[in-house]
């Protein structure tokens, strides 16, 4: 059963999440510098802080007749749900919130992004925002089912929806070894839900920034923070689901969890610079006809192994 919420952990959690998210942003900045043919000095790691400072100084904007309530609500929901999702991720052995339905909890927090992104696009009363918001919904229709099945596959392997038990079930063999398809699908979904890299069409350059088009100042900062936080939360969740959680020799388990999370996060960030944007109208069919059957077969294999 549940051990309930570790209160001090809950207080630290948003800041810890911000820290891991900032690491991702720093890494992306370094890769960007390298792509531009520039040196990558150590102070590049400060670039996200610099960006945040810039957005704190820059004035906010309002378009004509925006739905300001929905607009800001949508933007804020990103970070709030990322914190909710991260709460069930065991940092080493213990999550901030231990729940017997942790896997479903993570999934539910993630679906709130449907609302968040669409509202961010709709609220600004701008064409670019609308296009971006609707693109995200189309993208969500594509990644959501494979994502759910990937989560279920991991839960199936452990016979539990409690993330701690899922991690514990990998004592002998990490799930990634015998559920590689589920792992890959989960990572694809992680990119898609944080509209990052190849799946950043909802914020695409071709639509003047899509959902981000009319956001400036702290409003924009809140959305970007939420996006990086989700990237971090998803990477953090992939570790207990597929990479053995905090298991590893010598080092304490929380450090192992952190190391694995950062490795996954680095891969997700690297993908951004390695692939062009995947357009939703093409990805939709790929997701339904390739990813979905593949993950169903993966689940079938896992369930046959389990019984």
């Amino acid at each position: 059963m549940t051990d309930g919420l570790a209160l001090w952990g809950a207080v630290v959690l948003p800041f810890g999440l911000l820290l891991v998210a900032t690491t991702a942003a720093s890494l992306s900045a370094a890769l960007g510098s390298a792509a531009a043919g520039r040196a990558v000095p150590v102070r590049t790691v400060l670039q996200p802080v610099q960006e945040a400072a810039r957005l704190l100084v820059v004035r906010r904007r309002r378009t004509q007749h925006p739905d300001a309530l929905l607009w800001r609500l949508g933007g804020g929901t990103l970070f709030v749900t990322a914190v909710l999702a991260a709460a069930v991720v065991p940092i080493g052995d213990a999550p901030v919130l231990r729940s017997e339905v942790g896997v479903v909890w993570f999934n539910a927090a993630e679906t709130l992004l449907w609302a968040a992104l669409w509202l961010t696009g709709w609220g600004g009363n701008s064409v670019a925002g609308l296009i971006g918001g609707y693109r995200f919904l189309a993208q969500a229709l594509a990644y959501e089912l494979p994502m759910m099945l990937a989560l279920i596959t991991a839960a199936l392997g452990a016979g539990s929806l409690d993330v701690v038990q899922v991690a514990a079930a990998q004592e002998d063999l990490w799930f990634v070894v015998w559920m590689p398809v589920a792992f890959v699908v989960f990572l694809v979904a992680a990119l898609a839900l944080s509209f990052w890299g190849p799946f950043s069409q909802p914020a695409g350059s071709d639509a003047a920034g899509g959902v981000l088009a009319e956001l400036s100042g702290v409003d924009r900062l809140v959305v970007l923070v939420g996006r990086y936080a989700w990237l971090a939360a998803a990477a953090g969740m992939s570790v207990p689901l597929f990479l053995g959680g905090g298991a590893g020799p010598l080092l304490p388990s929380w450090l192992w969890w952190l190391a694995k999370t950062l490795a996954v996060l680095a891969a997700l960030v690297w993908v951004r610079w390695r692939w062009p944007v995947v357009r939703v109208d093409r990805f939709e069919e790929i997701a339904w006809v390739v990813l979905l059957p593949a993950i169903v077969v993966q689940a079938l294999v896992v369930s046959l192994v389990v019984i």
């Binding site: 378009t63 279920i152 016979g159 923070v225 006809v289 079938l300």
Partner: protein, 116 residues
């Protein structure tokens, strides 16, 4: 029950962090009053409100999704008991999934997964 309390506490804390950002912003910003601006239209003024009846090309996909999504209600609890119930549970669930995948296959052939 613990979940609800946790959700409330976590939401409050996360919202507090965001409120903190807004507070810092108020201290640092060049002008506290948000700028009233036109939406970006490549240097043209807008002629009408953008929020309108937005026509998408993927209505069929949403319906397909909702039908498949119902499946998940059963699949989470199913995942917990497969090991106990054995082959019968596997056959039943994947029979169920196979039926739905037939639906997806049909939709694919009809072109419903494309922007129509």
């Amino acid at each position: 029950m613990e979940e609800l309390g946790a959700a409330l506490v976590l939401m409050a804390l996360a919202a507090a962090v965001l409120a903190g950002l807004y507070a810092v912003h108020l201290l640092l910003v060049v002008d506290r009053e948000p700028l009233a601006a036109d939406p970006f239209l490549s240097g043209h003024p807008p002629t009408e409100h953008a929020v309108s009846r937005y026509h998408v090309r993927w209505y069929a996909v949403t319906l397909l999704f909702l039908a498949f999504d119902m499946e998940m209600v059963f699949m989470f609890p199913w995942a917990l008991v497969v090991a106990d119930l054995g082959l019968a549970a596997v056959v039943e669930m994947f029979g169920f999934l196979a039926i739905l995948l037939v639906g997806v296959l049909y939709a694919w052939r009809e072109g419903a997964l494309r922007w129509t």
